[in-house]
Subunit: 352 residues, 2 copies
């Protein structure tokens, strides 16, 4: 029997219920800006060992909660665990980001892709979720996550970071049916993976569509949004007698928030290039909104950080449904104390 | 006395006059996808020699016009010639992009930055413009260009390519007055530089704001748009008895087209993430629009390329004021014949 939640602000805000103040968490809150994270990572040896050892993943997941008054924990993992479990050979190279040794390029590559069994190849993830839930002991809810099918496909086809997306878009434009096959299989893998996270104890889910914003509006709907829709339709939306809210986040997707809200998700991530006031107009309070301070703001003075927090809160305006966050992951060279200033300012300025 | 223009479709479209068909040119049309370009570049030895030798810059500027029915030529140069002329030491490293050996970081760095004299350190550019005009002999108009102040500042402060813009945004958030000083000086340099290009024979101008889209709406207005406004206000807008139209292009700036149109520019570049129909609604036919096929479309079959060209033309709809282009520079691995298919399709489908 899991411990009852002591702080459910995050879940209530995603349900667009009234809250005493605006809840706050931060993308990549367990990350390289924290000296204690760097120590654990050093102990782990490499990044994938850190991800795939439940005790270590649990340890770093909890680190930011001990420093800051955050209202949610997010599973420490990588968005590329699924293609790795499909056998593509994920590794990380310094200064290069993720690399797949066996990228997916041909019909044969795509047709032979397995849908990984979350209870088998991805067991280390669900084990981490269970352990984190136990260790959290009801402090705050736990968020599970995955990359979006389009975003996973970008990495799977390109094999490494890219500036012009020529391989994945080449496939999309020259072999659309094959691209759809890849996305379908990936979407089904993500659905099974996220449902397994919920079964293991995730209390909310987030889908990161890092690369949806490089598509045209028509292509975004066809190649990214349609597959997030497929996932939303296949997710368990309730667990432990409570709704498991789902948040979609397309970086640079400000123009498509309206269409994203139509998927039936509970919340949308908004990056800093769209004002929350505009995002709210576009979505007409059908969903909660999560964001959206520019992560670089944390390089500013504490005074300036507080001003910018105020500006973001005022941009959202009155009424329920706002979860404060950065508009993207926190940068590695940020002074952790500055994040503390931000978190405290959110509480102070949003208290009702 | 310069030769009279035989084809002024491009200038007329930017003036929102009726044209027999939609004119077309392509960003980076003189570039690595052309085998004849690669040959000239090999002969030059390195990229900066190619840019700074007027005969070679002229040669590659004209190459795409000999292959395709394009309606404008664009000066072959780099967006970073100004910081190079300021003494920052520009060089290009394979796979790395541009690097400045002496990036700008401190108050002393910024206060000692000169405003380069276009007749001196940048003489190779105006010499190239004069030569190209002579060699064009009135075939099509010549476009001059520069990077936007914000975009130049990104490279000047970061010193090389960046993913999170932490140094330049760090300066912006922690030392706003200093950042404004850098942008002011850069804007004044760009203004003098573009006016010198017009005096040498450029018949239209374009300002590339490659990185404006990484800013929040408020920061975009304050740190990028304000300085493009300053440039627009300071430009010679007529030469040889004819208007010299100015086009602004902020990549990922779809949400700000309305504000951009208010600068008094003649046209706006639109990337493929915004439908031209939406762009036209936002700007209410106050300016011409240039764009916006996803460059990756050129990896598709000729048939599919033709369909997508049609879709872009239909998205703009009836009436004057459209210049067809890609939504960003052409990719280096594109088959040149596919660009030919695109150019011919624009003529065929837009003939009135």
């Amino acid at each position: 029997m899991p411990a009852p939640l002591k702080n459910d602000l995050y879940l209530r805000a995603l349900g667009r219920e009234n809250t005493e103040r605006t809840p706050v968490w931060v993308m990549r809150q367990a990350g390289r800006y924290l000296p204690e994270y760097l120590e654990t990572r050093k102990r782990a040896g490499d990044f994938m060992t850190l991800c795939s050892t439940p005790e270590l993943a649990c340890e770093v997941t909890l680190q930011p909660l001990d420093r800051f008054n955050l209202d949610a924990a997010i599973l420490f993992s990588d968005i590329l665990t699924i293609p790795d479990a499909m056998g593509l050979g994920l590794r990380f190279e310094a200064g290069e980001g993720p690399i797949f040794d066996k990228p997916v390029r041909t019909r044969a590559d795509i047709e032979s892709l397995p849908v990984p069994d979350p209870a088998d190849e991805l067991r280390y993830v669900t084990d981490a979720v269970s352990l984190i839930r136990r260790e959290l002991d009801g402090r705050v809810p736990l968020i599970g996550f995955s990359g979006s099918p389009w975003t996973l496909a970008v990495y799977m086809v390109e094999g490494r970071g890219t500036k012009d997306f020529s391989k994945v878009k080449g496939l999309m434009f020259s072999e659309p049916a094959l691209m759809h096959q890849l996305l379908e299989r990936t979407a089904d893998s993500v659905t099974a993976y996220l449902n397994a996270q919920v079964e293991a104890g995730a209390q909310s889910l987030m889908i990161f569509d890092t690369w949806g914003g490089v598509l045209s509006p028509a292509m975004y709907r066809e190649y990214s949004l349609a597959y997030m829709q497929r996932i939303v339709d296949g997710l368990k939306r309730e667990a432990e007698g409570r709704r498991v809210p789902v948040v979609l986040f397309t970086k640079n997707g400000g123009a498509w928030l309206d269409a994203m809200a139509d998927t039936g998700c509970d919340g949308l991530g908004v990056d800093w290039t769209t004002d929350l006031a505009v995002a709210r107009q576009l979505t007409e309070d059908r969903v909660a909104l999560q964001g959206n301070l520019d992560p670089s703001t944390l390089y500013a003075t504490p005074e300036r950080i507080r001003e910018e927090v105020k500006r973001v809160l005022e941009s959202y305006g009155h009424g329920p449904g706002h979860v404060f966050n950065l508009g993207h992951g926190i940068h590695q060279h940020v002074n952790p104390d500055h994040l503390g200033v931000m978190v405290d300012a959110v509480s102070e300025f949003s208290a009702r």
